[in-house]
Amino acid sequence: MDHKRRDVLKYSVIFGLMASAGLITTAQAQEWNKAAFEGKSLDDVFKVLGAGKPETSSAITMIAPDIAENGAVVPIGMNTTLKAQQIAILVDKNPSALAAQFFIPAGSEPFVTTRIKMGQTSNVYALVKADNKWNVAVKEVKVTLGGCGG
C-alpha cells in the first residue's frame, strides 16, 4: 500500500517537472515556428530563420508611421519589387523580436500590412526572403505610449 503511494507521488513529481519545463504543452500548434518567436534579439531570430546577415535592400519599401501615438496598435506594412517568398516583421526592442512572419506563394503579391504592438521607440525591420537570399529594410518608429503591460 505504502509502496504504491510512493509510486504515485513519484510520477506526479515527474509530470509536474515536465510540464513546468515546457515538455508537455496543451494544444501545441503544428506549423508555428516556436523557436523563431522565442528569439529575444534580432540575431536570435535571424539565426533561427537561417537569414544570417541579411543585406540592406532599397527594393523593400516599409509602410510605417514615423511616430506612433499608441504602441498597442502600430500599422506596419511592406511592399517590395523582389520576388518575396517569405516576409518577417521584427521589432528590435520588443521582449521577443519577431512580431509575425508571412509566406507568399507564387501568384500572390509581395505585399502585406498588419498592426503590431511596440513596447517603446524602436527600429522595425522588414526581412524578405527572395530567390533564397535574405534582404532587410529598417525604419525607426517613435512610440509615445507603450503597448506592453498596463
Binding site: F37, V112, T114, R115
Partner: protein, 102 residues
Amino acid sequence: MADPMRVRATENGGVVDVKILMKHDMETGQRKDASGKAIPAWFINTVTAKANGKDVFKGELGPAVSKDPFLNFKYKGAKGDKISITWTDNKGEKRTDEANAT
C-alpha cells in the same frame, strides 16, 4: 466558438486585395492581473488563406500582433473567387470564415 472575422476582398486589374479583421484578445503573457499574477499568453498563431481551394497566403503571428489582428494581402485572382480564411490560436481554437471577391 470564437467571434466571426470580417473578410473583404475586392478585385482590381486582376489582383484581389484581401483585408481581414480577426476578433481575438492577443494576450501577450507579459501582462499581470490586479493580484499581480501573470496572465497567460493567448494569441492567434497561424492564419491561412485559400482562394478557390488554393493556398494564397500564410501567416505566423506572435503575441506582438495587436489585439483584434488586421491583415491585408494581395494575390492574382478574379471576381467571384471564393476566399476562405482560417486561424488557429495557441490553445488550439479555430475559426474559418469565407467571402467572395467583388
